[in-house]
Amino acid sequence: MKHAKWIRSIHLLRAGELNPEEEQVLSNHLSGCKDCSAVYEKVQLDWIKVMGEIGTEPVLPDSERLSDDILSAVYRNELQFAPLKKTPRAEKEPFFLMPGFRLGLQVASLVLLAVFFVEQFQVTNSIQRLEIQLQSQNVRPRYARLNMIPPAFKKQLLVMVKEQLEQRGLATNRIDEIVQSLETGSIENETLSTRKRDLTRVEK
């Protein structure tokens, strides 16, 4: 057991971890102790064998090629991870100058125009039909429908009706009454007999 300390020191010496003083102390002990010097020789021999096995240095196959490989790998890697240069972007134009917006605006205005003209045509057509009805059949128009006519056309229509009634020789006060009732729409409340009377007067 008393050799355990020295055996530990022998291993430390082999590992180069003893200071010169400790080395000297161990050396003195080894010169007088056969057991410890046998251990020392065995440790040294083992170590020589270990180094004989694995202590030789590996051979670098081609140092020039390796350095070229390393450098090219380094620069390739640098290029790969280099930050991309940002391309300057043109200033953003306002939305009303964008081609999509302009095209949409054109289409919308065309649709609105088309709707407007169709409506105009329908109104004019209905007025014309009413006029034809008044002229050919000499029948009072359905006054309720007159209320649906826009005011500008209604006014024109009333003038035309007034002219027609004057041509047919209806009394002025009656014409005014009819025109007024057409304007206010109260003629619907008139009785059928009143309408017939008017018609017979026109006939005469």
Binding site: H11, A15, E17, D46, K49, V50, E53, I54, G55, T56, E57, P58, V59, L60, P61, D62, S63, R65, L66, S67, D69, I70, L71, A73, V74, Y75, N77, E78
Partner: protein, 191 residues
């Protein structure tokens, strides 16, 4: 005078690298690639893998050149990078799977560029290292390689591995015992 001009210290080369001097980096690579390869080979026991580790290590050196402390020895820095790369490499589950199941890394991969003589020397050495250190876990193996084969002192091993002096000594002692035991087994089988 001309010698003084041409011989530049590692610190100066690192300083030049920090100002993107590629020539200085090339000098650094040429100066230390053998050291890096030798250490990487002892860890991996394979020439192409060792060369790959060297490449990765120098890529890291270049990428982090601005953070290198010039007071630190460049060799110590290189040992640190190579050992960390190797530890990452061994931790990789995929590679461990292939190494254990197919066992191709042990014998099959040879460097096609190397001459037959170099191949033979390296393969022989790789087999002997593997035979002796196959029972060592990565940490013990790393400490053993650094201390006994690369001849680094304890302080340098501490810097490279990040382990304490006590831990290094313990790991080293266990590694040496295992290697001696393994050596006895091998020599016993031979005789």
């Amino acid at each position: 005078m001309s010698n003084q001009e041409t011989i530049t210290t590692d610190a100066e080369l690192i300083l030049n690298c920090q100002s993107d001097d590629q020539g200085a980096f090339r000098t650094l690579v040429e100066r230390y690639q053998t050291t890096a390869f030798r250490f990487a080979f002892r860890l991996t026991c394979d020439t192409p893998e060792a060369e790959d580790l060297c490449q990765k290590a120098f890529i890291k050196v270049w990428n982090y050149r601005n953070r290198i402390n010039q007071d630190l020895l460049f060799s110590t820095l290189l040992y640190t990078i190579v050992s960390r790369l190797w530890l990452d490499h061994t931790r990789s589950k995929k590679l461990r799977f292939f190494a254990s199941k197919l066992n191709v890394i042990d014998t099959e991969i040879v460097d096609p560029n190397a001459s037959p003589k170099v191949q033979a020397i390296n393969q022989d050495l790789a087999q002997r290292i593997k035979a002796l250190s196959k029972k060592l876990p990565p940490r013990q193996r790393l400490v053993f390689m650094l201390r006994d084969l690369e001849d680094l002192n304890i302080r340098e091993v501490m810097e490279v591995t990040g382990l304490s002096a006590g831990s290094i000594k313990t790991n080293l002692s266990i590694a040496r015992q295992k290697i001696r035991k393994q050596l006895l087994n091998i020599t016993g089988r031979r005789t």
